[in-house]
Symmetry: D2
Subunit: 263 residues, 4 copies
Amino acid sequence: MVGDEFELETVEEGMDILLYLDNRRKYLVKVKKDEVFHTHKGFIRLNTIIGKPYGAKIKSSMGVDFYVLKPTLKDYLLKLARKTQIIYPKDMGLILLHSNIKPGSRVVEGGTGSGALAGMLAAYVKPDGKVYSYETREEFIKIAEKNLKRMGVLDFVLLKKADLTQGIEEKDVDVVVLDMPTPWLVVSHAYKALKNTGIFASFSPTIEQVIKTVETMKNVGFTDLETVECWVRKYQVEAGRTRPETLTIAHTGYLTFGRKILV
Amino acid sequence: MVGDEFELETVEEGMDILLYLDNRRKYLVKVKKDEVFHTHKGFIRLNTIIGKPYGAKIKSSMGVDFYVLKPTLKDYLLKLARKTQIIYPKDMGLILLHSNIKPGSRVVEGGTGSGALAGMLAAYVKPDGKVYSYETREEFIKIAEKNLKRMGVLDFVLLKKADLTQGIEEKDVDVVVLDMPTPWLVVSHAYKALKNTGIFASFSPTIEQVIKTVETMKNVGFTDLETVECWVRKYQVEAGRTRPETLTIAHTGYLTFGRKILV
Amino acid sequence: MVGDEFELETVEEGMDILLYLDNRRKYLVKVKKDEVFHTHKGFIRLNTIIGKPYGAKIKSSMGVDFYVLKPTLKDYLLKLARKTQIIYPKDMGLILLHSNIKPGSRVVEGGTGSGALAGMLAAYVKPDGKVYSYETREEFIKIAEKNLKRMGVLDFVLLKKADLTQGIEEKDVDVVVLDMPTPWLVVSHAYKALKNTGIFASFSPTIEQVIKTVETMKNVGFTDLETVECWVRKYQVEAGRTRPETLTIAHTGYLTFGRKILV
Amino acid sequence: MVGDEFELETVEEGMDILLYLDNRRKYLVKVKKDEVFHTHKGFIRLNTIIGKPYGAKIKSSMGVDFYVLKPTLKDYLLKLARKTQIIYPKDMGLILLHSNIKPGSRVVEGGTGSGALAGMLAAYVKPDGKVYSYETREEFIKIAEKNLKRMGVLDFVLLKKADLTQGIEEKDVDVVVLDMPTPWLVVSHAYKALKNTGIFASFSPTIEQVIKTVETMKNVGFTDLETVECWVRKYQVEAGRTRPETLTIAHTGYLTFGRKILV
């Protein structure tokens, strides 16, 4: 139909692509010369993709159509995270909005884990902001470094081997975002590190974590306390057959937010 | 406790503050000299706030405590929108993440309405991106201009008196985001305006709008089609009395996304 | 159209009717001779309803149409309950199904409150079952007696002025259903009162109540423990304008169930 | 602990039991002499269960503990239904409450399918009510007959080989409940068959089915129209680790209800 009126962005060697088969089968692939990507629907020679415009349709060896898409932040978020600690787009969106994270923000974050959360935050605080990401386990710092490089945001993250429950070195930060087992042990450190307009945010799977954290926040000096949970439900949309999908993720974690007050 | 180790940001005349009483009563107030802000819990002379640090507690004439907070993007989103067309933070977060909107993005948006959605998008595409906001009704363009100025993002939005169903003038844009009654009439225009890596996003309250839009998207040339809805539920967190709040907003709208493919 | 091929059931003096204006305005009214029912849409002389068939349309003094419907159990459940302690149809349905309550069941229930829960249970254990309803507050026993009489199920309920936390007098019962502040104090009494195939069910608004109750159930001798919560969302269905309603009840309470095992 | 103060109900040959391993693994088993039940946790000789009281713990050949529970209606509902057409307890509960189905009700139901819905309804209209269950496919009538016999409610169901879209033979019924692909084709037949206090109920997976059915109901003569959907979310309750389960069923179907009016 169209798309040819202006210059098309093309896939170059070394870039990431998202190979799209259908809504459930999408693969994040680095395009290396002479390599072959195998799927249960046949293989694809990556050479054939180099130089192709994003949005192009290609056929696997079994004749199945795939689309070559350009990975989004969400794709990286979903593909790079370790399964057990993933922050879903729904929660990531709420963290951004409720924490007022935006271009220029300075954010302390932890634990780093796979770096997916740090990478997302970095992508939104660019180009003038910074993410200070704490992690005690050396092996995760290495994984995170690799992932942040792949997402193109390593320059905006400072990876630190340190324990947030022992203190925060930064001062005057805009936001502290936690995804760790004992967030209540970080509340008073966060209070000290935050600007007087700063926001504390925490993601926790269990309600007991939430209760401990909120009770600590009340004592330390936060107001506008909010704990929320969020669901997303996908739809099958097709004239005459429209309906929500049968299964969904019913729980990832509770999100807690508060704003620093002077006490 | 703390907060005095580094310079505190203080309220200056002409700035906005969020006067916080409790989770249900928060007021967005412009601090004008010699003005008085009236609440059902007594009045507050705004002069007494000038020079105060954000986070400070002040007393109303009736002796009730309020906190002086710095407004976040979310506060503007909730306070500036016309009630009938508000995009909630939960939906705004999903739009950002699913549309890959980030610093530097060029986004076509419409209808402008109160400008709240345009303002949020502008805050995230800063400093190098741009929002092209379409609106046919002159009176809303004026309201939006005022609101965008107040949010400090007017430089990043181009307000246009034009009808998206008649075409899109921009080329090579990253995203088209719609919050309008007939999004299906914009799908083919969006296709032409989008980069070959671009994303189409639409917010609609009714399922019939969704079905028409998705069927059109399939015909025009989009893949990775996703329609979702999102709920957020707040909690009352208090040791021994923790429970979700009784009432919630059960529906705002359906969100539909798709990525352009070359056809 | 039809409805006249067989005998119509008509309203007699002393009966209850549900006067239906729209989905939000339905009134449970006892039809007394010479009385007048006032609404904001005009008044209705109840004499004019006597002898009318259910399903008939009548006009108020302001010319507004009302329908004369026959009250269902759900109507009584929603209209007779004190607001603070209502068991909603969604929860009532789960209690029936998860507790295996059916015609013939013998059920211990408490606290009685307005009697709405006892009345519903009675309507389902009829004609051979029985509900033993515990309440410590004399004034509620009187209210409940009146309500149960109105629902026509008083014969199937034994109202008892007694405290469930002090013990259960019945033996060999099929189910114990609790809607009271300290269900964990009743767990071991329930265990003793239940048949070896019996089920314990509890409704609680807070998560701390749930945790205490479930931990006690594990210790005392129950298995197949399930705690669930349930939401219902209403739709506005109208071709071209179909959508969920905006507001909903997001929380009533958690439901906990377990089956007695021999220990 | 207790349970021995009154006579225990014991398992007899030919009865059904629910072999309970954990919340995800429960098996509905008919206890036949000399048969062996195999699980991935070892086998169980059914002879060893005969004479045991319900609630007893038994060990498999691999030494794993199972509990011998008495099947509830819910167990039959979940185990006997064909997967594709199951009515979940949450929906079943709403159907009972919103349709005012109770002991003594006369209910027309279709399509019969596996008979699970008919069986549940029968269990609640007992002992004086009746379910008239319509099915066009001979093979399902046979399956249903077997299942209804197993549930012990065959006497309360009349299985009919007939097509509801062609008409309803019964007159003066309390409720018509549909779980079939084209409910809108049955609306006017249902109107004729229902008492003047009667209720129409329909379960449909897609929103298009709902829209067609509701529009037809408005035209034919029903009021108090309600379309709802219902979710249930399970919790993992354990002091210090309490949280909702990760996955849930996000959609089974929409439920539509209306009451007959005289037109």
